[in-house]
Amino acid sequence: MRLLHVFPLLVVTGWLLLALFGGWLPLQPDAIALDKILQGPEREAWLGYDDLGRPVWDRLVMGAQTSFFVALWVMLISFVLGTAIGTLSAWLGGWVDLVVVRLIDVFLAVPGILLAIALAGVMGPGLENVIIALSMVGWVGYARLARAQTLSLKHRDHVTAAVSLGVRDAHIVRRHLLPLLSAPLIVEATFGIAGTVIAEAGLSFLGLGVQPPEASWGSMIRDGTRYMLVAPHLVLAPGLAIMLVVLSVNLLGDRLRDHLDVRSRGT
């Protein structure tokens, strides 16, 4: 029970530390050792070597940087964009809201990952384009949530009281709406991070993400599939990394939601 409690925290902390400080470790993700191609784990490289004789652990750390970088940026951009659009749409109402709602519907009608593939395909491969593509898909969730929350908050008495006191609109949105709708949005953001890690891996798997020799967990899996039977560690290592990170972030998100939701807290 205690292990289950600490475990996701450990995994996420490890991921963060490797992503932030991995650059300072004495790693050589690009060093090719032709005599060690596809070799399994050994003392110098505890996760073995890939099809070009590069150490898998070093590349895994590099992949952690990529996935974290993408997840962070996509989350930030979609969060800010989505919250702004959703809140304003609900606050202003009228035709603005009508247009935004239709736009959200259109985005939701197309499967997100397909849209991202199409966008990334059009813009060409590259990390920046992956971030842009995923953000274009990601803002919709935040916008929908922020809009729904704002609509219910908008008619609360304290907002009416502020209007009656002559408080300016911008100030009302900043003081009376944003702080109150932040809790569910933050929970949404944690789940968003997990989703983005998978989406980035997916795009990289299709070759739309980082370009060689840069590493990403998705591209590592793609390279590894060809040798799955002879060297399963090439697929297992990044695959497990993705699974652990996504699972842990989701578990933390669940816990955060329970914590922020006063109703589910016992007396």
Binding site: D157, H158, A162, S164, G166, V167, H171, R175, P179, L180
Partner: protein, 667 residues
């Protein structure tokens, strides 16, 4: 004397909390005889509902086993019964109806199915016999066209109808005892009168006993035979109805009466109970009311009073009635007088002319307007400086919409709102925003009207900041301190958050917030209807003191006639979006002309000692404002309606100086 139907002995119920054991019901004993109506009277949190739930053994999960004492139903101890046997008692021998008919009915089952459940379980009925009994029951609770209603779902019924269905469910088991937990609190007065009348009628037909749980002295006065007053988990006084209303004995009961707003108390402040109900987790040394009691002396703090007989069939738990102990000299409390001739200049502050607020109903793919809700439909009002205009009406009559549209929080569809000669409906943008400081609003629910993430100091200062008044930060902080003191709070409260305060304190904070911008007019939208009587008295006193000191004008929106009689100068009665009668408070309450006003006033339960009078009942429910009846809106329910009432809406007529009425009877 015959054996009582229900005998409760030393009933104690407790909850295990972090602070220790909370005894929500503490050693209570009472008896209910067959056919009798017994009331448990008390303010919120005094444990009256918990007493009822303990009798039914329906306590929330964690407190399930935390009951001690005896609950004897015909001599059989319910607390000793196994759960399976208890299930045969519930709904069968003891039935219960709750406050909120909305949430006590299952929304996905038909009305008939919900009543049938009881009949199948406890009466073993099925088939044609079941159907016959169902129709009989609905007819018995006064629901027209029972056969059709059986197939309907709860959302298709009005609030009063739902409560009738709840009563039918309770009656289905032919119970010996009916527990009614605030059965009419969520209903309008005219509907309340219908439901109370129905309960009485059914009781005389079936001979069942009723345990009525209520906070409303008026309901007690109209309905019951005997009453027990509860305070902080304990019954402090038991008496027959007539004795109790002639002379309540426990100081707490006396205070409840004195705190009731009333026409006779207009010239003074209402009596209040200082402090608040003590936490029930402590072990009480003396009398638990002593810290708030104006007649308490040392003994009260040291020793818990025992039950003392105080005449025929009545007893009280108070040292004052103990002849064996010496009493200190009485110190009578003089009521604080109010200067009634508050300086009114007679000049008109607010003039509303033919105000209309229509909400479009949009339907279909293209959101075409398919009709309107005529929330406010042509209202004229005027309010003079330093005076209080009360807007009275039942829920859904448009009084809140009217209040908000006067303040331009909702933009009116048509009409004028002249505030000091300036038409507010023409103001836009920055000009309106600047002008807003002159008119403010106080809401019914003080908690939702404050941002839970803001500190009290910031909440109060917000208006000054927005209007750019009150000087620099220092000066504003000083002004916040001053305002807090003005509404009876302490300056250090400004660093706390709203959830740390009680309901009454929160309402004080809301009042301080409106005062911060020095308004001339305050719209009070049911500011005390969520509060207990003793807290209501504090808020009403505060509002009246502020009115005198600051020459404020109030537009007081309420459904509570006693509050109106206490503080209004003028009254306007609304029905379905229109004002049907208006005039000075004395004229409206004393010589009402419009049949609706008369019915409304008659439906209000009176607090008095004499034999209960026959309540005047207004039949039916108010119609929908989406599709108001042609002619006079009131004619379908009016006992005096004639042909002309169905054809055209009556013009406004003056029947006495300043007393206007819209009714064909006077044209």
């Amino acid at each position: 004397m015959q054996q009582p139907l229900l005998e409760v002995n030393h009933l104690t119920t407790w909850f295990d909390t972090r602070e220790g054991k909370a005894r929500v019901v503490d050693g209570n004993s009472f008896r209910i005889h067959r056919g009798e109506t017994f009331a448990l009277l008390g303010e919120s949190g005094c444990g009256k509902s918990m007493t009822a739930l303990s009798i039914m053994r329906l306590l929330p999960g964690q407190a399930q086993g935390n009951i001690s004492g005896q609950v004897l139903l015909d001599g059989e101890d319910l607390l000793q019964l196994p759960e399976a046997a208890m299930r045969r008692v519930r709904g069968n021998r003891i039935a219960m109806i709750f406050q909120e008919p909305m949430t006590s009915l299952n929304p996905v089952l038909t009305v008939g199915e919900q009543i049938a459940e009881v009949l199948r379980r406890h009466r073993g009925l099925s088939g044609a016999a079941l159907q016959r009994r169902l129709e009989e029951l609905l007819a018995q609770v006064g629901i027209p066209a029972p056969r059709q209603r059986l197939g309907e779902y709860p959302h298709q019924l009005s609030g009063g109808m739902k409560q009738r269905v709840m009563i039918a469910i309770a009656l289905a088991g032919e119970p010996d005892l009916l527990i009614a937990d605030e059965p009419t609190t969520a209903l309008d007065v005219t509907i309340q009168a219908q439901v109370l009348g129905l309960l009485k009628e059914l009781q005389s037909q079936t001979g069942m006993a009723v345990l009525m749980i209520t906070h409303d002295l008026g309901v007690v006065s109209e309905m019951v035979d005997r009453v027990a007053v509860m305070y902080a988990g304990q019954i402090v006084e038991q008496a027959g109805r007539a004795d109790f209303f002639a002379q309540p004995q426990h100081p707490y009961s006396q205070k409840l009466f004195e705190a009731l707003p009333d026409m006779d108390k207009r010239d003074r402040l209402l009596s209040v109970i200082p402090g608040s109900v003590p936490p029930l987790t402590q072990t009480f040394q003396g009398c638990r009311f002593a810290p708030r009691c104006h007649r308490a002396w040392e003994l009260c703090h040291q020793r818990e009073p025992q039950w003392l007989p105080a005449g025929e069939g009545r007893s009280v738990r108070c040292h004052l009635y103990d002849r064996r102990v010496p009493h200190p000299q009485q110190t009578g409390e003089a009521p604080q007088p109010l200067d009634l001739a508050h300086a009114t200049t007679g000049e008109v502050l607010l003039e509303v002319r033919d105000l209309k607020v229509h909400f479009p109903i949009r339907k279909g793919l293209l959101k075409r307007v398919r009709g309107h809700v005529y929330a406010v439909d042509g209202v004229d009002l005027s309010l003079r400086h330093g005076q209080t205009l009360a807007l009275v009406g039942e829920s859904g009559c448009g009084k809140t919409t009217l209040g908000k549209s006067i303040l331009q929080l909702l933009r009116p569809t048509a009409g004028e709102v002249c505030f000091q000669g300036e038409d507010l409906t023409r103001l836009r943008g920055e000009a309106l925003r600047r002008r807003r400081r002159d008119f403010q609003i106080i809401f019914q629910d003080p908690f939702s009207s404050m941002n839970p993430r803001m500190m009290v100091g910031d909440i109060i200062a917000e208006g000054m900041q927005a209007q750019g008044i009150g000087g620099d930060r220092e000066q504003r902080l000083a002004r916040v301190d001053e305002l807090l003191q003005q509404v009876g709070l302490k300056p250090e409260h400004k660093f706390k958050y709203p959830h740390e305060f009680s309901g009454g304190q929160r309402q004080r904070i809301c009042i301080a917030r409106t005062l911060a911008v020095n308004p001339k007019l305050i719209v009070c939208d049911e500011p005390t209807s969520a509060l207990d009587v003793s807290v209501q008295a504090q808020i009403l006193n505060l509002l009246r003191r502020l009115q005198q000191a600051l020459r404020l004008s109030y537009l007081f929106i309420t459904h509570d006639i006693s509050v109106v009689s206490y503080l209004a100068d003028d009254v306007a009665v609304m029905y379905l979006g229109r004002v049907v009668e208006q005039g000075p408070v004395g004229a409206i309450l004393g010589e009402a002309r419009h049949p609706y006003t008369r019915a409304l006033l008659a439906a209000v339960p009176r607090v008095h000692a004499d034999v209960p009078r026959q309540m005047v009942k207004l039949e039916g429910d108010p119609p929908s404002p989406m599709d108001p009846p042609a002619g006079c809106h009131f004619h379908p329910r009016c006992p005096q309606a004639s042909a002309i009432c169905r054809e055209c809406y009556p013009e406004q007529r003056q029947v006495a100086s300043g007393h206007w009425v819209r009714c064909h009877l006077y044209s």
